[in-house]
Amino acid sequence: MNYMLLIYSDEAGFKAASKAQVEQTMAAYVAYTEALKKAGALVRGDRLQSASSASTVRVANGKTQVLDGPYAETKEQLGGFYLIDVPDLDAALAWAARCPGAGHGTVEVRPLWTM
């Protein structure tokens, strides 16, 4: 089954981190991505630009509204994702727990809709 691991974390905290801390976190993500690849579980994964780069679009009454900023203003923002292919929820939860994002934020595990 395909699962999306959505990584939410506090961007402000990441910006305030020292260079060494940032490097350590990035290295952890590289290692994690490598482990997913080796296990044959990785479909794709990416980091997102900061939430301040987000624009939100909505069409109401035939009029397009574009707003500056993310959909929801929360303390933790969506910062990246992995799309993985594993046999079941237990396997997905095990990968989510290994994700560095689970340490510095929260990882939401969502199965993809299957037609």
Binding site: Y3, D88, L89, D90, L93, P111
Partner: protein, 427 residues
């Protein structure tokens, strides 16, 4: 579909037996089908008409020689027809199709149905399922109770319970919750969740001490049955053995908990001759078997507390020193305020009421005990014993105000009244 309550009147036994057999076999078939497809609702749908027919016909026609073959034959006819209709009318529903195919296969050889009920229990008690829904989900999938009956036993509105069960089943399917016994690394934690859910089933039944509510009394029996099932499927798990021992200990004292008049009798005042000796012996044997594995756990400790009370059968007295040590261990393990209250009661026996009160005082800041009847009842009893009548009276009033069970309330009121006549310092 059916009702948790035991019927009253003639022919009850035949009906109850037929119903129990139907439930056991139904659960095995649901587990088998759902384990293949992860579609619990689909498996239930496929078997529901056959199960209803078994509940209606077996009490009068007698239980068939091969109950699973009987249920399967009926289910197969209905489901395959439905699957064919669907296949021709709309986009194929792969799960239903798969179930129909499974039914075809197993119907050909019913002796070959593997028992997947343990896998189904682990799915029902998965950490991704809401904790409060795990026990109801097990009752429905393993034993075939309908949402209305479960709602009644758990004191929840039927529509709410029905919604929770539907959601949980959808979650199992959509989120891909696996049907299997977890790997050793996480087995202990996951098994705890299964055992907790079984204990919740039992406790719902046990809570109705008077045994006046047949629906709930039956839940205690179903809890014990589920406990036996886990022990039969995982005979080397000490906590599974401990849970079964704990439930049997409690069940053995069911009759002794009430006077013939229906009045509440606390454990220390119960007549040991009214305890069911066979159940107690079985419980003790299970506990010994568990302790030989050398891995302690919550349920074994709680069963051991029961066991230390039951020594009164021979010695005339509970082994309070052992009970204190066991509650020490339980408190270290769980940190539960309920355990702390029981430990304080044991302390009052081993070191005197003042020591027990001091232990209760240490809990006074815990918001969880403020509305917990046993805390106030324990306090009242100990205050009475040190001669603080006013304090005891006040604590009894709070305990009485918080109690749900009328006979326990009446018992507390008697204790409160007994404080009042001058010259009596003990209740």
């Amino acid at each position: 579909m059916d009702d948790v309550s035991a019927p009253a009147g003639e022919g009850d036994q035949a009906r109850a037996t037929a119903e129990a057999v139907a439930r056991r076999h139904y659960g095995k078939l649901v587990a088998f089908l759902a384990a293949r497809t992860r579609d619990v609702a689909g498996a239930e749908d496929a078997l529901s008409e056959a199960f209803a027919a078994a509940l209606a016909r077996w009490p009068t026609d007698g239980i068939p020689d091969n109950p699973e073959a009987w249920i399967l034959a009926v289910a197969r006819r209905k489901t395959i027809d439905a699957a064919r209709r669907r296949r021709s009318s709309q986009a194929a529903e792969p799960d239903l199709q798969l179930i129909a195919e499974e039914l075809e296969t197993v119907a050909a050889d019913v002796t070959q149905i593997p028992d997947q009920r343990l896998a189904l229990m682990f799915a029902c008690a998965h950490p991704a399922i809401d904790a409060a829904t795990r026990a109801p989900l097990m009752l429905q999938t393993i034993l075939g109770f309908d949402a209305a009956a479960i709602a009644s036993a758990f004191l929840v509105a039927p529509a709410t319970m029905s919604q929770r069960l539907v959601r949980a089943k959808a979650k199992i399917r959509q989120a891909g919750i696996p049907f299997r016994v977890p790997e050793p690394a996480e087995l202990r934690e996951r098994l705890d969740a299964v055992l907790e859910a079984i204990y919740a089933v039992f406790a719902e039944g046990w809570a109705d001490a008077a045994g006046t509510d047949a629906r709930r009394r039956n839940l205690a029996e179903e809890g014990i049955w589920l406990g036996r099932l886990v022990v039969s499927l995982m005979p080397d798990e000490p906590e599974a053995l401990g849970l079964l021992a704990l439930m049997l200990h409690a069940e053995a004292r069911r009759v002794a908990r009430r006077h013939s008049s229906g009045d509440y009798v606390p454990l220390i005042d119960q007549d040991p001759n009214l305890w069911d000796a066979n159940l107690l012996d079985e419980a003790e044997a299970l506990l010994r078997r568990a302790s030989r594995k050398g891995v302690l756990g919550r349920f074994q400790l709680e069963a051991a507390v029961q066991s230390a009370h039951v020594v009164r059968r021979r010695s005339g007295q509970s082994d309070w020193a052992a009970i204190e040590r066991l509650y020490d261990a339980l408190l270290a393990l769980t940190g539960s305020p309920v355990v702390a209250i029981n430990r304080a009661i044991a302390l009052a026996e081993t070191r005197g009421p003042a020591a027990g009160l001091a232990a209760l005082d240490a809990l006074a800041d815990d918001a969880r005990v403020a509305e917990y009847q046993p805390y106030w009842a324990a306090r009242a009893g100990l205050l009475g014993r040190i001669g603080d009548r006013a304090g005891a009276d006040e604590a009894y009033r709070l305990a009485i105000g918080l109690e749900l069970d009328p006979s326990v309330r009446a018992f507390l009121q008697q204790r409160q009244t007994a404080l009042r006549p001058p010259g009596r310092d003990k209740s």
